[in-house]
Amino acid sequence: MVENTVKPGEILLSVEDISLSFGAVRAISEVSFDIKKGEVRAIIGPNGAGKTSMLNCINGFYHPQQGTITYKGITRSAMKPYEAAAQGIARTFQNVALFKGMSTLDNIMTGRNLKMKSGILASTLWWGKAQKEEMEHRRFVEDIIDFLEIEAIRKTPVGRLPYGLQKRVELGRALAAEPELLLLDEPMAGMNLEEKQDMCRFILDVNDEFGTTICLIEHDMGVVMDISDRVMVLDYGGKIGDGVPDEVRNDQNVIDAYLGGGH
């Protein structure tokens, strides 16, 4: 795999003219946009606008019928999700997809999966070496746990945690992969005000401290406008607005889509 490095401010990922349909239903039609290295990029839009479909295209769950996706200078055709993960794309899900039977610690450890070098045989046969590696990764994961302030629930099976904390653990698992591009699908959905503020703080901290590029989906406009560098607006699968928050906020098409005018 060719490793291209992208400098801050340059284009990390660009989506060209992609369309995705399921049978007769068009989820995305001819959308182009890009994500620059180091920015917080938001995709907003009403329910069913194609936001999650867009994330699914980027990390390889869906393969658009038309158009291309270029990541770190490499244009790719159909890519598998674990290949996307191997190239530094991590994500969270709208409906929290955690491993419910496993503890917080184990969940976040799975995020280190790709960073662990010992193969199948090695980790079974050369116990000592694999154990040493495990310890190193464990240290990294403990740092993430500290960072997200979830020390108290390290050993708790995540199925038992309240929703807001589950979302935080899921963010931790994504961070454990040390991603270059972090995709967050409605990280603040279903949270109360305090939890939302915490989550905003974590997102901004991740962006600041680790320089991680973030692409997030929200339909709560208010929150997004505060933390994003640029915002794209989708409606009925098409792009209706794109720009810095102030531009988007005053865009007539966007206002119509959100207030229900024009439909």
Binding site: L98, F99, N113, A177
Partner: protein
């Protein structure tokens, strides 16, 4: 007084024999649980895999005249190859299909393995000879079958090894992750392909060990696949997703059917050993459908 002691000894003898036979059921059930946990498929072919593995081992021994340990390693290689083929040509093509379709596919695999195994190695009953002890010994007036004792210890060791593998290694964690949530597992870079091949290989290895034990007991023959049916009540009792459940379920079924045969049998005309397990499972289904250790499935509405 002597009568009571004799009765007690007899009871213990039946119980121990039942428990040890039960551990053999557990071995078969274990293969089902592994695959069900990791891919959500009820693998109907587990019995056929057990027969195929045992046939391969005996076949290599006869054909090449090698020591059984060499044949054992070769049989493992065959099961890994089989796992690879199953993923490549069957499961890999059926990702995201309904469970019933995957189940039908495993029925297909069953018949393929039955036929192919007999084409390769012949259909006559073969003798499994890996030097396991035969006969029984006397322990304080209780007779214990040596082969059954070995089988019991092997089952225990295998479960311990699997538990360590699942809980302490990176692959084990990946396996549990896949079992919990396919999509999330993919997103952290776990390859479903690799995991499935590993799981089917391990299930093949468990099948091989079960095949050796049952083969030594009954001879390597077609009817071994039918033993897989005995694993069903074991799974219903223990729960489809639990490794300890497979063990406990096997022990309950094994001892239950032996004790029932001896103590209830005479009142209903005997021969209840063959259907007791299924009846027990059915009663169990009515009261605890998820099994003793299975996860309770609560559908959110």
């Amino acid at each position: 007084m002597e009568d009571i002691i004799f009765e007690l000894q007899f009871f213990l003898e039946v119980l121990i024999s039942g428990l040890l036979t039960g551990s053999l059921y557990s071995l078969v059930a274990l293969g089902f649980v592994l695959i069900f946990k990791a891919s959500g498929v009820f693998n109907f072919a587990q019995g056929a895999m057990m027969l195929f593995a045992a046939l391969s081992l005996v076949g290599f021994q006869e054909l090449l005249g090698v020591h059984w340990t060499v044949a054992f390693v070769m049989a493992i290689a065959v099961m890994v190859l089989l796992a690879w083929c199953v993923e490549k040509f069957v499961l890999g093509k059926l990702v995201n299909q309904e469970p019933i379709i995957l189940f039908m596919a495993t029925i297909g695999i069953t018949f393929f393995l039955d036929g192919f195994g007999q084409t390769l190695w012949g259909s006559d009953i073969k003798v499994m000879d890996v030097g396991l002890p035969t006969g029984s010994f006397d322990m304080g007036g209780i007779f214990i079958d040596k082969l059954e004792l070995v089988a019991g210890f092997t089952a225990g060791a295998l479960v311990l090894a699997l538990a360590l593998f699942f809980n302490k290694t990176k692959i084990g964690r990946a396996l549990r992750a896949v079992a919990d949530d396919h999509q999330a597992a993919l997103s952290v870079g776990i390859s479903l392909r690799t995991i499935w091949i590993i799981v089917w290989s391990v299930a093949g290895l468990v099948g091989l060990v079960a095949g050796i034990m049952w083969g030594s007991k009954l001879g390597v023959q077609f009817s071994l696949t039918l033993l897989a049916l005995k694993a069903l009540p074991v799974l219903i009792l223990g729960g489809f997703t639990s490794i300890p459940g497979a063990i406990v379920g096997g022990l309950i079924i094994g001892s239950g059917e032996k004790l029932a045969e001896i103590y209830i049998g005479p009142f209903v005309g005997g021969a209840i050993e063959n259907w007791f397990a299924y009846m027990l499972a059915m009663v169990f289904l009515l009261f605890r459908p998820q099994g003793l250790f299975g996860e309770k499935i609560i559908e959110r509405v």
